[in-house]
Amino acid sequence: MNIVVLMKQVPGTSTVGVDPKSGTLRREGVPAKTNPYDLHALEAALALKERLGGTVTVLSMGPPQAEAVIREAYSMGADRGILLTDRAFAGADTLATAFTLSQALKTMEFDLIIAGMQSTDGDTAQVGPGVAEFLDIPHVSYVKEIHGSSGLHACYGSVSGEETGLPVGGDGSAKIKVTADLGDVLVTQEVSLPALITVTKDTNQPRLPSFRLRKAVSDRPVEIMRAGDMPASSETYYGLAGSATRVERIFPPERTVVREIWEGEPRELAARLAAVLREVAVR
């Protein structure tokens, strides 16, 4: 099973600046980390690989420093990492991001794509389904369980540990069985490969990076792809130029309230509070 994991670098703190000109988040110089949901996506991929063989490739779009995401993935067990980095990719909305990722995927072979449920900065949950649509493959969002051996072994039957060349779906021969958490309903579906899923934190517990692996892979390269390497190479498809949305204005949230601060003895405060509660609390 050849799996591609979509992973993104996100700011490590919740106080980031905004570029007043482009209206996009200023990411340079901000401490960064791997989007926590994407670690669950990677774990899901590694667990599948351990069971079925194959490769795990990490695909990330971002500035050069986003290489750190791929390094972290290497030290957890990913085989290959590709960073999509180009000035032309800057300022992408979810449409342009999904397009860029799908273009890179068109140059690769894969059975399954796994994304995080959402990112902690964009927070849209849109990129995964968008990639699936660009590739015209099915997707399932909010997967909380990948039915492990039973479902997969039943599907793959004869797959041995070493075998990697699973039949690529499309002809409906290879399938994955997953349960999605749609809030008040859990839906279990069987999906032909190739397909894309996005996973929630309930799916698994990501492993920790291994020191041994980190050393072993320290000289493994991170592959770089730029706009010119994509099947659709015109720069106007990417970044801000390829985006359909424009941020027009950024401003701090406002709130105007009547405010009172009380200090004093606990008992006296409690009595005052009780008076307010009797007034406002609806019973």
Partner: protein, 347 residues
């Protein structure tokens, strides 16, 4: 450039995706629309009236023609129903094909969907199909005389608000968070709106429908018992890291009960496993709009208060400089372990 400055003349109207939840078992008579639907209708009507456009609801499901008539009690112009057995379960690609057909048929200028799990899964597929913009989790929507939808959403955990436009593509798509917009009123009898049943006819939509029907099979569907939702609570007692141990929660639970409300909390308590994720208030939890919100031992991080959208806020915190005091209507500087027991004595 992408295909820009197209002529948007043919694109008009506000389309609402009316998300239908099928009944739990085939023999229970009716399902129901996701409550966000009525909020979307309210907003769509307002935007439509400002610009002289119509409001069209799209309903996808199996056996939905009857239930869809409920929407006619709301201020809509049209209800488009695709009533097909293959829509019994939500399958992204299948739903996308039908919705695609509706958009080709109607050419709406704006498409509004709930930021529900289904909406967030379906909307991006549609946006990509039409190579158009999609703004997630909008909290404020307005419209310009020229038809441009002005979409405002909290960005970066609510630290900043961003106003976003999709000027050069149609339809302009947005998902809207539940409980941030007022619900449309239900009239006593059906209004002027008409209901139409449609079949899928657009060739591209039909082709993708066939592919997805072949690729995906739903094996089972299990309803999760509806826990009382904190989003609906009129009174919320919310606890944070000021609570020292799990057993202390009981005291706050009692307070919530006395006030006829629910216990909620900040993310650290969810991470500790003391309260369930469904009770987390904030940017990555639930948005709430109670009449009364009591924050106990909560510092008031922006990601937490981003989830509180209305009502009177009372905070008790021992740190006078806690940011929650910038947010609360009544800020009480003190120890929750001293004040709450006293309060329970007098309530």
């Amino acid at each position: 450039m992408r295909e820009r400055e197209r002529d948007w003349a043919g694109w008009s109207g506000i389309m609402v995706f009316a998300e239908f939840h099928h009944p739990a078992t085939p023999d229970t008579p009716d399902g129901e629309f996701d409550p966000v639907t009525y909020e979307l209708i309210g907003k769509a009507r307002e935007l439509a009236d400002k610009t002289g456009q119509e409001v069209t609801c799209v309903v996808l499901g199996s056996g939905v023609t009857e239930p869809a008539k409920e929407l006619l009690y709301y201020p809509v112009d049209r209800v488009l129903v695709y009533d097909r057995p293959e829509l019994r379960h939500y399958v992204a690609g299948v739903y996308a094909a039908f919705f695609h057909d509706a958009i080709v048929a109607e050419k709406p200028s704006v498409v509004l969907m709930g930021a529900t799990p289904v909406g967030r899964s379906l909307a991006p597929r549609i946006a990509v199909r039409f190579r158009t913009g999609l703004t997630a989790d909008c909290t404020v929507l307005d419209i310009r005389p020229n038809g441009d939808l002005v979409q405002t959403r909290p960005a970066f955990g609510g630290n900043i608000m961003a106003t976003i436009l999709t000027k050069d593509a149609r339809p302009q798509m947005a998902t809207v968070r539940y409980k941030v917009m007022p619900r449309a009123e239900r009239a006593e009898r059906p209004g002027a709106g008409r209901l139409f049943r449609r079949e899928i006819t657009e060739p591209a939509a039909l082709a993708s429908l066939a592919r997805h029907l072949k690729a995906v099979a739903v094996r089972s569907e299990e309803r999760v018992p509806k826990a009382e939702s904190i989003s609906e609570a009129k009174v919320i007692v919310a606890v944070g890291r000021g609570v020292k141990s799990e057993k202390d929660l009981e005291m706050f639970e009692v307070l919530a009960e006395r006030l006829g409300g629910m216990l909620g909390g900040s993310r650290p308590l969810v991470e500790k496993g003391w309260i369930p994720p469904s009770k987390q208030v904030g940017q990555s939890g639930r948005t709430v709009r109670p009449d009364l919100y009591i924050a106990l031992g909560i510092s008031g991080a922006i990601q937490h208060v981003a989830g509180i959208t209305g009502g009177t806020v009372i905070a008790i915190n021992s740190d006078r400089t806690a940011p929650i005091f910038e947010f609360a209507n009544y800020g009480i500087v003190g120890d929750i372990y001293e004040i709450v027991p006293e309060l329970l004595k007098v309530l």
